[in-house]
Point group: C2
Chain length 347, copies 2
């Protein structure tokens, strides 16, 4: 083939021009075909684990409405903030919040160094697997459990313990790692929203340092987009090393009315979409949908006793009562896991 570079003041020889022309035409055609395929793919189904039904339809209709330039309800990308509760919304929270199960595993691991725990609540009940005794220890007992297992180490050391637990521990019902007990439809939804210019945040009552080590891989949400409950952290220089030590003291509870407060503190903008599953998400949903801009609220309703769990108004975790009533008057979308989700967990 003749060379394509300029020669004798002519860009290319006639033969080469034909070659270039065919090449360019081929590139142009391929690009056109690819872009048509991409457009079809984007409008086709980015939510394959959702059954076709009102929940999926309202999500897609809202996203199309706020992302269509020229639409009266168009929202600029910078303001497309979507906040997601974690426990019961992005991953399973039964038979108990996974962070509590992690704390119990830590207590069992640390027990040999603490012979006094055998006779001391709440540790005694945890070690005996006595859930009634633990329940009797109440919130104070739970906080003691968290303090004993979540403090007295650096943030980096704690992250390493969480990562190790995610590798080794298994969910009692599903016999799979906890970070694979995430909801496939919600993972697709997160991806779909990001593909439409949304910035996705976790806003969870769970501990922020318990989530950060694994949520980026699981959900594509980076550590700086995780809002959660937290303990006091203190800066220390140990010789030449700069360390952050976790102290056994609660700093912030990101639950209920704490969720809009946490959103304001960390994000500083009102979300236009919020996703939850319990009364702990009520104020986040109210705060998100009470503004004058277009907004969207959604509740994941656990209705699938076979594939997952069925619970709402009387549950010990993830109690959904007031928020379910309010969903009607405020027009929040209620997802029935049984009916709306074709798949629950990643395959």
């Amino acid at each position: 083939m003749k060379r394509l570079l300029p020669r004798d003041g002519v860009l290319v020889t006639p033969m080469a021009r034909l070659g270039v022309c065919q090449l360019l035409a081929a590139i142009w055609l391929s690009a056109a075909i690819l872009s048509v395929a991409a457009a079809q793919n984007s409008t086709r189904d980015q939510l394959p684990s959702w059954n076709d039904g009102p929940a999926k339809q309202t999500i897609v209709a809202f996203v199309e409405k706020v992302t269509t330039e020229g639409s009266p309800e168009f929202v600029p990308p910078a303001e497309r903030i979507a906040t997601f509760d974690n426990d019961g919304t992005l991953w399973c929270e039964q038979p108990m919040y996974f962070q509590v199960l992690f704390a119990f595993d830590r207590i069992r691991a640390l027990a040999p160094e603490h012979p006094e725990w055998k006779d001391k609540e709440p540790f005694k009940s945890v070690l005996a697997g006595d859930l009634k005794g633990l329940a009797a220890a109440g919130e104070k007992g739970l906080l003691e459990t968290i303090a004993a297992t979540h403090a007295g180490m650096t943030v980096d050391e704690f992250h390493a313990l969480v990562r190790d637990w995610m590798r080794t521990a298994r969910h009692p019902k599903y016999n799979r790692p906890y970070n694979q007990c995430i909801y496939q439809p919600m993972v697709e939804l997160l991806r779909y929203l990001r593909a439409n210019g949304f910035k996705t945040f976790i806003v969870s009552g769970g501990g922020v340092e318990f989530m950060r080590p694994w949520v980026e891989e699981a959900y594509g949400i980076p550590p700086e987009q995780v809002v959660g409950s937290s303990g006091v952290v203190k800066f220390e220089m140990q010789g030449d090393k700069a360390l952050l030590m976790k102290e056994p003291k609660v700093e912030f509870i990101d639950d209920g009315p704490g969720k809009p407060v946490g959103i304001n503190r960390f994000i500083g903008r009102r979300p236009i979409m919020a996703f939850g599953n319990s009364d702990g998400d009520l104020q986040m949903l109210q705060y998100t949908t009470a503004a004058n801009v277009p907004s969207f609220g959604l509740i994941v309703h656990h209705t699938d006793a076979t594939r997952e769990y069925a619970y709402d108004r009387n549950s010990h975790v993830g109690k959904l009562d007031k928020a379910l009533d309010e969903a009607k008057s405020r027009g929040w979308t209620v997802v029935s896991m049984k009916d709306d989700w074709e798949t629950i967990f990643p395959k």
Copy 2:
């Protein structure tokens, strides 16, 4: 011109093909020329307000080192976190922190509604312009000033006051709006880092709600990437409206050892670059550069009494003493405003 649509099994007629060919060649050439121009632009000078010198060279050398794939010190984009102090680092902080000047202006505006302030410190001194009297009221006086001007309203109402002040108030020396008293070299640096895959954050002792309304326009930093001091905020439903009320109570001081704590709380990753100008940034710089990964610390030294201000070890604002000593042993870059900056403010 003959039509370009397929006809008789032939995609285009010979004449049309020549037309398409020339069009495609033109597009292809333009694209090639544009991309060469873009590459030249990106490698040429993205920091035009910096004089050529060791400060600029160390910045560029570090950024090239950590962004070159295959380099032993390559850092993946997700970990390219850069944190910037605001007062004295991104904008001027003389003759007094601008947020304090804002508070004084608010006190003057509110004075008619508070006749008791005429005889009550620290308000009496503020209204009389008596800086000595105000200094005598100490930190307690300053906190009272902040409480009286930064609380008792919603977050949205406070943002509106800040925006209004930015439009109307003028800096006493430069006679320009405060949000134009930002450092042009640092604005270029922020843009340069983002163009190299960095995520840029403000980590300031200033109030987070005082910064959020204007920093996106000034620095290109969105509200969710602003870490600052904060007051307690409370969620309230007023009828059907969901509000966040600012209360007159300090929640978090993001200064000194509070900076690494704030970085961990909001970002959850250790930065690889940190920029400050005072001892309030010492721990942020220590925390950033004490890790084993490649890291970079920089101090803006105010050495230009003519174009800006000259101050360090004995200043009432932005005191730079310990951090200046530590810069030598830790290898932090010290920028001399007088020598390293060709321009100070945007033109």
